[in-house]
């Protein structure tokens, strides 16, 4: 039984994660070697990669801020730089990571160490940006920050200042991502801070430390594991984000380049190598961050020496200055970051958004999407794919969690643990590239795994969902397994039960709620998946999942496309909220958040 589990997990991860990635890496390397050996260019090689002006430039083609004057109104256009695909990606990811880390740190500190009116509400607000409104949130922010948008309207019309602003291109992407990702860092730091033995801070106070010194020397260093884990996730998420670049038309980033080239993928030979070369860069960055952080975090994960003190979290009331900062700075910023999601809801129920803000109330968009054949097909496809993926995920996660928690072979545990959590860090676009390269040629060409074959991409999409979303379930199940004492199983086996029987009669009933919660989480995150959905999933018209349909509505110039996409996003958010509610009731814990 254990052997079956090991084999199943290893086969799944090898075939649908490791091998595609390896092929992705090998393809451009092969071309490079051929090029170096024979001097003939057979395909896009790494040599082209480093001399391609699309990818690297030493200068920016745009001025970051452009100021213009129309009448007596000053127009300020924040567009950012353009240094080519790879520098752009890194600049965006670095700035987004810095902004979100700063905000996440401040909010985590306030939430973990202060007690004040409205704290619970603020903690709820911090979750709003995590609600999944694929692509639509980026469009909402773009509208809010255009020359005709709400902010310019407030500055210009309401306040009467002769100034209009527009945030676009690189700065638009940075703004969108920062607003969406900061809670990831906040939640990771917050949980780190809550783990700090209060006596460690009390001891420092006792020896004379206070205020910032106390924070610098004790609280911050002890929160670094959470900070690092959160920052790594944000950096990776930023690199693979498609919503921002598509909404702002900022195409010179890795994610968009991979996306557009896969979309154009008819002749895999040439394009495949280019995509592969880009995917290598993305993958190399993501993996080095993932492994680096994993190592760092495990080194610094100070098993707190012993817990003799009292475990009352150290919370105190903020003073006057503190209160002012909380209510006048932090709260407004948090509300600001919740605006895209709020905007998506408002948009979904509004008749039009042709001026500064959405206008009119209507339920028509919901009525329309429920009869629109494209939407209906996307919805049923997504539900079907997610359901099938979830079934596979249950088996896969049970297997990998069980092996990681129970196998007596130490290296095997570690390998399985590492592989099964790595999809959290591996960009979906790298997986999509790998699938295109591996399954559209050679051995798999024209089989049911080939997305370009007459079977269509559905099976590959299901498998991609399975691999990408399994870590959510694996972590929940693993956490549950660690609470079930091995002795329960040993007692059953001692009485003659086989491992399968033990699993069925002891483990699964005890783990039932964990498995259910993990499955629900995996399900909803599958429905909201974008990277594979809009690339591989979009190659056959009738098989597009919901997120691909949403993107079509946003980019396809359809009538009320934004409102209809927003209505679809509302459906996803409502499902997500229900599922998070259910898992929280079952497990009384938040496993729904994201970290390494």
């Amino acid at each position: 039984m254990l052997v079956f589990m090991i084999i199943f997990a290893l086969v799944m991860f090898s075939l649908f994660l490791i091998l595609p990635l390896v092929e992705t890496i090998l393809l451009p390397i092969t071309f490079t070697i051929e090029r170096l050996v024979s001097g003939v260019k057979t395909g896009y090689s790494l040599i082209e990669l480093f001399s391609d002006p699309r990818l690297f430039r030493t200068y920016s083609t745009t001025e970051p801020v452009i100021v213009a004057q129309i009448g007596n109104t000053t127009l300020v256009n924040f567009i950012g730089w353009d240094f080519g695909v790879i520098p752009n990606t890194l600049i965006i990811a670095s700035i987004v990571t810095s902004i979100t880390t700063l905000l996440g740190l401040v909010v985590a500190f306030v939430m973990a160490r202060y007690e004040f009116r409205g704290k619970l509400i603020m903690r709820v607000i911090a979750y709003i940006p995590l609600l999944m409104t694929p692509f639509v949130n980026a469009y909402v922010i773009k509208k809010l920050f255009s020359f005709d948008g709400l902010f310019s309207y407030i500055i210009n019309t309401v306040l009467g200042i002769p100034l209009k602003i527009n945030v676009d291109r690189m700065f638009g992407v940075i703004l969108t991502q920062s607003m969406a990702f900061w809670p990831i860092i906040y939640l990771n730091i917050y949980s780190s801070m809550m783990m700090i033995d209060p006596s460690l801070e009390e001891q420092a106070e006792n020896l004379g430390a206070k205020g910032f010194k106390l924070f610098r020397s004790i609280t911050l260093p002890l929160s670094l594991p959470g900070l690092a884990a959160g920052a790594a996730v944000v950096f990776i998420f930023s690199m693979e984000d498609l919503g921002g670049p598509i909404a702002y038309g900022f195409h010179d980033v890795l994610s968009y380049s991979i996306y557009s080239n896969i979309k154009a993928a008819q002749n895999i030979g040439e394009v495949g190598a280019y995509v592969g070369a880009l995917a290598i860069v993305l993958l190399a960055l993501a993996l080095s961050i993932f492994f680096g952080i994993k190592k760092y975090v495990s080194l610094k994960q100070y098993a707190m020496l012993s817990r003799g003190g009292r475990w009352m979290p150290r919370v105190r009331k903020p003073g006057l200055v503190g209160s002012l900062i909380i209510y006048l700075v932090i709260l407004p910023i948090m509300l600001f970051t919740a605006m895209p999601q709020i905007g998506v809801f408002v948009t979904a129920f509004s008749v039009r958004w042709s001026r500064a803000y959405p206008e009119g109330f209507t339920l028509d968009h919901f009525a329309n999407i429920l009869v629109n054949p494209e939407v209906l097909s996307g919805l049923t496809n997504s539900l079907r794919y997610a359901a099938m993926a979830t079934a596979l995920i249950i088996v896969l996660s049970l297997s990998s969690a069980y092996v990681a928690a129970r196998s007596k072979l130490h290296t095997l545990n570690e390998v399985i643990d590492l592989i099964s959590t790595s999809p959290l860090a591996i960009p979906g676009l790298a997986i999509a590239s790998g699938y295109i390269i591996m399954f559209t040629s050679g051995l798999f060409k024209d089989t049911f795994l080939d997305p370009l074959s007459s079977y269509g991409p559905w099976l590959l999409v299901v498998l991609a969902y399975t691999i990408r979303r399994s870590p959510f379930a694996t972590r929940v199940i693993y956490a549950g397994l660690q609470q079930i004492h091995v002795a329960y199983e040993e007692a059953a086996m001692n009485l003659g039960a086989s491992r399968l029987r033990t699993l069925a009669t002891i483990i699964v009933p005890l783990l039932g709620l964990n498995v259910l919660s993990g499955a629900l989480l995996a399900f909803v995150y599958s429905v909201a998946e974008t990277s594979v959905s809009v690339t591989i999933g979009a190659v056959a018209a009738g098989q597009k999942p919901l997120t691909a349909v949403m993107l079509d509505f946003l980019t396809g110039g359809r009538l009320a496309g934004l409102q209809l996409a927003a209505a679809m996003a509302v459906l996803i958010v409502v499902t997500q909220l229900l599922i998070i509610l259910v898992t929280n009731i079952f497990l009384k814990q938040r496993y729904a958040f994201i970290g390494v």
Binding site: Q203, N206, G308
Partner: protein, 364 residues
């Protein structure tokens, strides 16, 4: 050197008193111990002195200065936490140097002082290790060194030895005592281990349910307990109940039933009078199997249970339908069911009124 005094300090958590009208006066350079059962409020009292909790009422003084609401970082105390609270991200050196860096001492002086204190606690050479690489005893010494190096006005120790094994505990408490004497720092020591308290303290305060029941030297507490709680908490005494038959200047005669009468010593200004219910407190090791020279009681009963414990044999006797714990010479052969006579000096029997302060501990 600082004198610490608490005046009418009370602190309630919900409806539990963690400190109740606590009056303490701790002299300069004294090693003063708070002793009491788990949950009686020792840690809370210590935390009030350190400034981590503010009392609901009452005041705390360091010398003449009222520090009741002074911030912990301005008090100049140094606390050794029960769990040591060593910072896992700092080396031994940095842990110890922390308080000195806060005081902005020059680097060279910090180095000198840290090395000196490492010598004092016998950890020279381990300064670049991290706390997780140390044994329990070494961690405890780092915590102590970190507190000592800042030359605090008051040293606060919260069960500093509770995480160590029995042997190390004995060695470390001797070291703490020695260092405290050498530096003569006013020290408040918290423990629930009475032997530890007896062995290192100048004076001991016995606490129960937030109240200070008695303050005195270890000898005072041991030989002259003021109530049954103190008497039973210290020395694991055994109890007998009865009714006062006669009372004179020093002694009381108590009828414990089955026509057995025991003469005991009156404690303090006891309100006992003829006919009132009384409790007799006797240390099990004070029972004799041969009649002594001095005036004594004779107690006869049936052995119910006997257990060989090495240096002595513990008996449980049934005397007038009450249980009595008796330690006898291990060479004496006693079997359950035997009738058995023991003797106890009148001076070794303490008599308390039945409704005395503090709860009566069940002593089997």
């Amino acid at each position: 050197m600082t004198r610490v005094s608490l005046s009418k300090v009370s602190k309630k958590f919900g409806n539990v008193f963690a400190a109740r009208d606590v009056e303490l006066s701790i002299s300069k350079g004294e090693l003063f111990t708070l002793l009491g059962p788990s949950g009686c409020g020792k840690t809370t009292t210590l935390r009030i002195i350190a400034g981590f909790e503010y009392p609901d009422s009452g005041q705390v003084f360091f010398d003449e200065e009222d520090v009741t609401y002074t911030k912990p970082y301005e008090r100049g105390t140094a606390m050794v936490f029960q769990n040591y609270a060593l910072w896992p991200h700092m080396s031994v050196f940095d842990n110890i140097a922390y308080g000195l860096k806060i005081k902005k001492l020059p680097k060279e002086e910090i180095r000198k002082k840290v090395l000196e204190v490492l010598d004092l606690v016998g950890l020279r050479g381990l300064e670049s290790r991290y706390p997780l690489q140390l044994s329990g005893g070494q961690q405890q010494r780092v915590a102590l060194a970190r507190a000592l190096v800042v030359e605090p006005r008051v040293l606060l120790l919260d069960e500093p030895l509770s995480n160590l094994d029995a042997k190390l505990r004995v060695r470390m408490r001797e070291e703490i005592r020695k260092i405290q004497r050498t530096l003569s720092i006013t020290t408040i020591y918290v423990t629930h281990d009475q032997e530890e308290a007896m062995s290192i303290s100048d004076r001991v305060a016995i606490m129960n349910q937030g109240k200070i029941l008695q303050v005195g030297t270890p000898q005072d507490i041991y030989f002259r307990p003021k109530n049954t709680f103190v008497a039973t908490f210290i020395g694991k005494s055994t109890l007998l109940q009865g009714t006062v038959v006669r009372k004179d200047a020093d002694n009381v005669l108590v009828d414990i039933g089955s026509e057995i009468r025991v003469l005991g010593k009156l404690t303090g200004d006891s309100p006992l009078k003829e006919g009132s219910r009384a409790i007799l407190v006797i240390k099990p090791e004070d029972f004799l199997v041969e009649p002594p020279q001095e005036p004594h009681n004779v107690i006869e009963g049936v052995v119910e249970f006997s257990m060989f414990l090495g240096s002595f044999t513990q008996l449980r006797m049934s005397v007038a339908n009450q249980n009595l714990k008796v330690f006898v010479d291990p060479k004496k052969e006693v079997k359950p069911g035997d009738r058995f006579v023991v003797y106890v000096k009148i001076d070794d029997v303490l008599v308390f009124p039945r409704e005395s302060e503090g709860e009566v501990l069940e002593v089997a």
